[in-house]
Amino acid sequence: MATIGVDALVRLEGVALGYEGAVALRDVDLSIAPGELIGIVGPSGSGKTTLLRSLLGEPERYAGTATVAPDTRVGYVPQVETVDWNFPITVEQVAMLGSWRTRRWLPWTGRAERSRARDVLRQLGIADLADRPIRALSGGQQQRTFLARALVRAPDLLLMDEPTSGVDIKTRHEILHQLAALNSAGVTVVLTTHDLNGVASHLPRLIALGEQTVLADGPPSQVLQPEVLERAYGQPMLVVRSGRETYVLPVPEEAPGAHEDGPPGPDSFDVIGRSGRDDA
């Protein structure tokens, strides 16, 4: 990737990307400013990971220009499925892999790198797991360990591939909270997600992919539109707004003529209840 010295951290113009000659995404135009928090959404195979990794300069680029601001440090957190879980490695050792370039020709890690890794693990609330084998952790703890590996590099741009995939609702909330805190501290965050309701609708900016290109780019109110989502997912979608919350539901396939007066959907919300203390 070339470098730029303007206000954007990353800029893609007319980019076509793919692997081994097969185009996965084309006509991609987007710009990422420092301090943004962005979600990339779209169905499986729509090119979310390809677009994310294009910010690392990885997939083959067949057209267009990709530029990144000089001296940008990038941290990347993959989907946890890519890892070899049989590998005997502890949480702290995984975190320290992020700083492998420091003393790169020596097998051991320096005191400063170890101390930095401990600080990051503490910041993420998993310092007490430092000596545990990574395969013995829960999905959320593993996700935080890989986040620690990215953060020991003190990145300006943090890329996360499906950070909330396979974790429970509480862990998802904690991960999103941590990402928001990092973003508030000045780290630009770009993540991919399948979760339109629990994750995407809460992000300030979304990029929707489908039909091998960017279908929409903007705030959730602009991107989570039935027309955009139908083009992305290839089926009618229902978008419901209640106050600040947005819910996206696929319209179930019905027998022809079942709903002559329009697509099925709720006329109103019934709030079943709310847990928690009422004394606030």
Binding site: E58, P78, T82, P88, W100
Partner: protein, 290 residues
């Protein structure tokens, strides 16, 4: 009686060579088993046999000829494996078997099965000269330096291959250098163990170490220690049992594997019994309280 093997120069050289080769094959083998490359280790040994036979036949330096042959095989495997239609395991199968077949073809043309060919197939550790020992030691130092310098990227690639590039690691370059180190290891081990037994020495010590620890640095040290000690012990024991030294080394390693496996099974059964006892006691306590 027990010290008798140490009285002979050829046995001293054999024990030193087996210790060094046992240690280095285990060190490289750690990455081989964790990257699930046992097949390439086995294949390369056969491939390098072809190079050894050709070198013997044309009177070329054995170490140089076998190393060049091994490096060329690795290059071809890497090139073929990059083609999506072929894949890594098929590339290894085709190239290493073809290279082995060249060796067999050369032998059949020569119409004689000489001692040198037999040495390459089954190892001839007792025939190691001082010069062989120096060359083997030199190669092992070179392999150790490669592992030392590439330790961090190798660990990263082995653990999380798909992401290593994102962290600035040149995966292709590191893998190419590692493959050459693996080829050099096979060449260094050829005279000690022979083509047919090298794969076992690459795999058994790291697998035993893996059963004993969950820490990578400890696994590496334990594997090297097991490789070196079983290498020495195998040659030492072979003196008394009058069996081929290479085979004895592998049999000693296999015995260590069986013992470790048995111990592990015993430990897990003990753990299970203890858990059952604790459960029974808790149940008894509950019923007493009720």
């Amino acid at each position: 009686m027990m010290l008798e093997p140490f009285e002979f120069g050829f046995m001293q050289r054999a024990m030193i060579a087996a210790t060094l080769v046992g240690g280095v094959t285990a060190a490289v083998g750690v990455f081989v088993i964790l990257r699930r490359l046992a097949y390439i280790g086995h294949g390369l040994a056969h491939s390098i046999f072809g190079g050894a036979v050709v070198s013997f036949t044309i009177g070329f330096n054995f170490f140089l000829g076998a190393s060049l042959w091994g490096a060329f095989s690795v290059f071809l495997i890497n090139q073929a494996a990059r083609r999506r239609q072929i894949g890594g395991d098929a590339a290894i199968g085709i190239i290493t078997t073809a290279a082995f077949a060249i060796g067999i073809a050369v032998i059949s043309r020569a119409r004689s099965f000489t001692r040198d060919f037999e040495a390459a197939l089954f190892g001839e550790i007792l025939g190691i000269t001082n010069q062989d020992l120096y060359v083997t030691a030199g190669m092992i130092v070179l392999i150790a330096v490669v592992l030392f310098l590439l330790w961090k990227p190798l660990v990263f690639i082995t653990f999380d291959h798909d992401v290593a590039t994102s962290y600035g690691i040149s995966v292709r370059w590191v893998e190419a250098v590692f493959s050459l180190a693996l080829a050099a290891t096979v060449v260094a081990a050829l005279q000690v163990l022979g083509v047919t037994l090298i794969a076992a020495a690459l795999v058994i010590p790291p697998v035993v170490a893996r059963m004993l620890t969950d820490s990578f640095p400890r696994l590496f040290l334990i594997a090297v220690l097991i490789g070196a000690v079983t290498g020495w012990l195998g040659v030492y024991v072979s003196w008394f049992v009058d069996v081929s030294s290479g085979a004895t080394v592998v049999l000693v390693q296999a015995a260590v594997f069986v013992l470790t496996l048995g111990w592990g099974l015993l430990e897990s059964r003990r753990g299970l019994n203890a858990a059952r006892r604790a459960e029974r006691l808790a149940g008894l306590e509950r019923s007493l309280n009720d």
